[in-house]
């Protein structure tokens, strides 16, 4: 086992552990925070594997932006009243599916790539940059458009009136729970 | 006949593959245009729609005529990874059916779509019936959705032409399926509102989808075995790529699939429902073109492709065919609805066709192909008459008192007599040659068929011929003879008269000079059966 392997094992343990906690924690906020750790751990994995650029982007986008969004969403949706976990049978089923996924995926990958060691020889950052701004420049530009659209769409969806109808008189009656919640807020 | 074709060839311009563009493009364009235009907030007037559709069908008919004479071959690679070619290759088998489709297409688009109307309560007997005012002459008026209706007609025609032209099994299947949805729309949206049109449409969809999935199964089986979807290759190999048991299985799947479409007893029960409901043009197309896809498929995809399997199933097929003849003719003796009755008679006629195909002789196949075309013309004629009558009467029920057709509507009456006479196999009209040929072939089937059984089938078929006359007499006595003049109904309008004349002349021509058609199909039949 090389040093890289040991390093990776350590980071991977942190990542896997925090991931486990993020899907099992009964505190909603905790789960979100554990997700931060997991994503950070993933960034560490990328670093160990030698993909510095990807690791940085991961940190920037995920840890910096996505998690913040998630936290905001948690706050906006006032998770207090909603039970976090499902019934036991449902959890058992979920566990089975999850285990199945792991087994199938892990088995397939291991049987495909084996246990041997290989040198780390990823593309250099220059190469990546050349590809992004050379070969794949159009998809890259399209991505920015996509992000813009997603932004606008998110605003539109989040602000859209309930029931999707524009005319206020056509709206269905507001459900009583919402009134209670809104009343609570005011 | 080849001399005649050479003469014709000298007459037509040499457009080559452009004939296909002339035959297919107008239909496609008109369908697309009408579909788009139909969604506009200000719909075009019914005259514009009707004429556009009629012109498209006529131009396409001219193109089809050119294709029939010139017979250009188109081969384009379509899906190279599957070895599928876009090939159009008309031959002696498909040319008569192409021409039939073209003629019937013009007739169907020319007919006016009648709007939904209230059912007139017709008194049961003479005393109760007040003399009603004459119904206004039936002309096309603004029916909602007229553009979509005509677009559907065009699509049905397009699909049928494509299926008949196809030289590739997959292309055939595409055409075969293309017909389905527009026809379903025609039935469910434009059908007779007083009958259960959703039920009829669902029946149609159910049966044809079951049939076509079986057909697809068979096509895939043969395609994987031979490694090609080229029908010529299939016919040339003659099933040598498949073992006996797989030939049997493939033949069974294909035959059941096509038998649902034809339809062959006991898979026929959907047809009367659908015909009773469909609008007149829909009935015309259904009887004259769609049912032909079934028989065409049998001759094209089964007889030459899996000969051994077909031989094994032939006695059963023939038995079901003749059972269908007698069965349907018997039902015709007691059926109360005139349109359903005509549909039943269609089943009987296609029984003769199936018997001819199953006999495995040249005479049988020739008779079957002849009967196929003849039935298309005759049933189109009859459905034009009966559809018009149904609209005028406000229903096709024979038990209500109707004015005698001979007295009040001589044109429709004459057309009905000619149609019924042809359908009961009167020589000199088109129906005769197919029927007698089938009986002749069934009496002496090809040597690998059990001839004792087939003789029995011939006897049953002959009895069915007599039953056809019985229901003809019944129909004519109930609607043509008689002295009632009330309630008065208007006679055929110009489009109907023209359509009836066109079809009537063709029926007469084929009846008097059957060699016209037989000589077109003869080379194909020889090619299939003489190896």
């Amino acid at each position: 086992m090389s040093g890289l392997d040991v390093l990776f094992c350590a980071v991977a343990l942190v990542t896997a552990g925090s991931a486990l906690l993020s899907v099992t924690s009964r505190q909603v906020l905790h789960a979100a925070l554990w997700l931060v750790v997991t994503l950070g751990g993933l960034a560490g994995c990328y670093l160990v594997l030698g993909a510095e650029l990807v690791a940085l982007v991961q940190l920037l986008v995920y840890v910096g932006a996505v998690v913040v969004l998630v936290l905001f969403a948690l706050m906006l949706t006032r998770s207090g009243g909603v039970p976090v976990v499902t019934t036991v049978p449902q959890r058992v089923a979920a566990g089975l599916v999850g285990a199945g996924t792991t087994v199938v995926l892990g088995g397939a990958l291991l049987s495909a790539f084996g246990w041997r060691s290989v040198p780390v020889d990823g593309a250099s950052n220059e190469q990546v940059a050349a590809t992004i701004f050379g070969t794949d420049v159009w998809p890259f530009e399209l991505l920015s458009v996509l992000l813009l659209i997603a932004l606008v769409a998110a605003v539109a969806v989040a602000r859209a009136p309930v029931g999707g109808q524009d005319d206020p008189s056509q709206r269905p009656d507001t459900p009583p729970e919402i009134e209670a919640v809104q009343g609570d807020a005011s | 006949m080849s001399g005649v074709r050479a003469d014709l060839l000298a007459l037509v311009p040499d457009l080559g593959a452009w004939w296909y563009a002339l035959a297919l493009a107008p239909l496609l364009l008109a369908a697309a245009m009408l579909l788009v235009v139909g969604q506009w907030p200000t719909r075009p007037g019914h005259r514009v729609v009707h004429r556009t559709s009629l012109v498209a069908a006529t131009v396409s008919a001219i193109g089809v005529a050119g294709v029939a004479v010139d017979r250009p071959v188109v081969e384009m690679s379509w899906i190279p990874s599957l070895g599928v070619w876009f090939s159009l290759r008309p031959d002696g088998l498909s040319v008569p059916l192409l021409l039939l489709t073209a003629v019937v297409g013009v007739v169907a688009t020319a007919l006016h779509l009648h709007p939904d109307r209230e059912v007139r309560t017709v008194a049961v007997d003479l005393e109760d019936s007040d003399p009603t005012a004459p119904i206004p002459v039936v002309k096309g008026i603004d029916v909602p959705g007229l553009a979509t209706y005509h677009a559907c007609l065009q699509l049905v025609l397009l699909g049928a032409l494509l299926a008949f032209l196809a030289g590739d099994a997959l292309l055939f299947f595409v055409g075969f399926e293309l017909v389905l949805v527009p026809m379903w729309i025609l039935i469910s949206r434009y059908g007779d509102p007083t009958s259960d049109r959703d039920g009829a449409a669902v029946r149609f969809l159910l049966v044809t989808v079951v049939g076509s999935s079986l057909v697809l199964l068979g096509i895939l089986a043969v395609a994987t075995a031979t490694g090609s979807t080229d029908l010529q290759v299939w016919a040339a190999q003659g099933g040598s790529a498949l073992g006996r048991s797989s030939q049997l299985a493939v033949a069974a799947a294909l035959l059941v699939g096509f038998a649902l479409k034809v339809p062959v007893f006991p898979l026929h029960t959907w047809l009367p429902w659908v015909h009773a409901t469909a609008p007149t043009a829909g009935s015309v197309l259904l009887a004259a073109v769609l049912l032909k896809l079934g028989t065409y498929g049998m001759v094209r995809l089964v007889v030459p492709v899996v000969p051994e399997g077909f031989t094994a199933w032939a006695p059963l097929l023939a038995g079901l065919g003749v059972t269908g003849i007698v069965w349907a003719s018997l039902v015709c003796l007691v059926e109360r609805d005139l349109k359903r009755l005509i549909a039943w008679s269609s089943i009987a006629h296609l029984g003769f066709v199936v018997l001819g195909i199953a006999s495995g002789t040249q005479a049988g196949l020739q008779a079957a192909l002849f009967g196929n075309v003849a039935h298309g013309l005759i049933s189109a004629l009859l459905f034009v008459v009966v559809g018009g009558l149904k609209h005028r009467w406000g229903g096709a029920d024979l038990s209500h008192g109707h004015a005698a057709l001979r007295e009040v509507t001589p044109h429709l009456g004459l057309a009905l007599v000619v149609g019924m006479a042809a359908s009961s196999g009167l020589p000199g009209l088109a129906g005769f040659w197919g029927e007698i040929g089938s009986v002749l072939a069934a009496w002496s089937p090809s040597p690998d068929r059990p001839d004792g059984w087939f003789r029995g089938f011939a006897v049953v078929a002959a009895v069915g011929g007599a039953l056809a006359v019985a229901y003809t007499v019944r129909v004519l006595r109930e609607v043509w003879f008689g002295e009632r003049l009330e309630p008065r109904i208007p006679d055929a309008v110009l489009t109907e008269r023209t359509a009836l004349r066109l079809l009537g002349v063709l029926v007469l021509l084929l009846g008097l000079v059957p060699t016209l058609l037989l000589s077109i199909t003869a080379p194909f039949v020889e090619g299939v059966l003489v190896r």
Binding site: T15, V54, T86, W115, T131 | -
Partner: protein, 111 residues
Amino acid sequence: MIRPALPYLLVALLAGLGAYGILARRHAVLVLIGVELLLGAAGLLLVTVAQTGAGGDAGPAVLTLFVITIAAAEVVVALAVLLALYRARGHVDLHAELDDRPRGGEVGDRA
């Protein structure tokens, strides 16, 4: 030198945990966390392949960047939908009854 089997095992583990998270949680935002884990697994898989098996090809790395970006867009929209859902229903419980129609009877009643 590195054994790619280790990252691959982590990929399988993260994917399984993500699936579990999607299925075992009722709160929609927590379900979204499961989705993020799955995406993370996919990203790790891509990066691993890029660094150990692609022979210096920049494609997998670029693809990972794309995935991350698209995932961000997806999260934005998904959270917006969640907000809308919350405003319509008052909760974001995915284990609730989907609708309160009476069961059966209206599908395929046509003969």
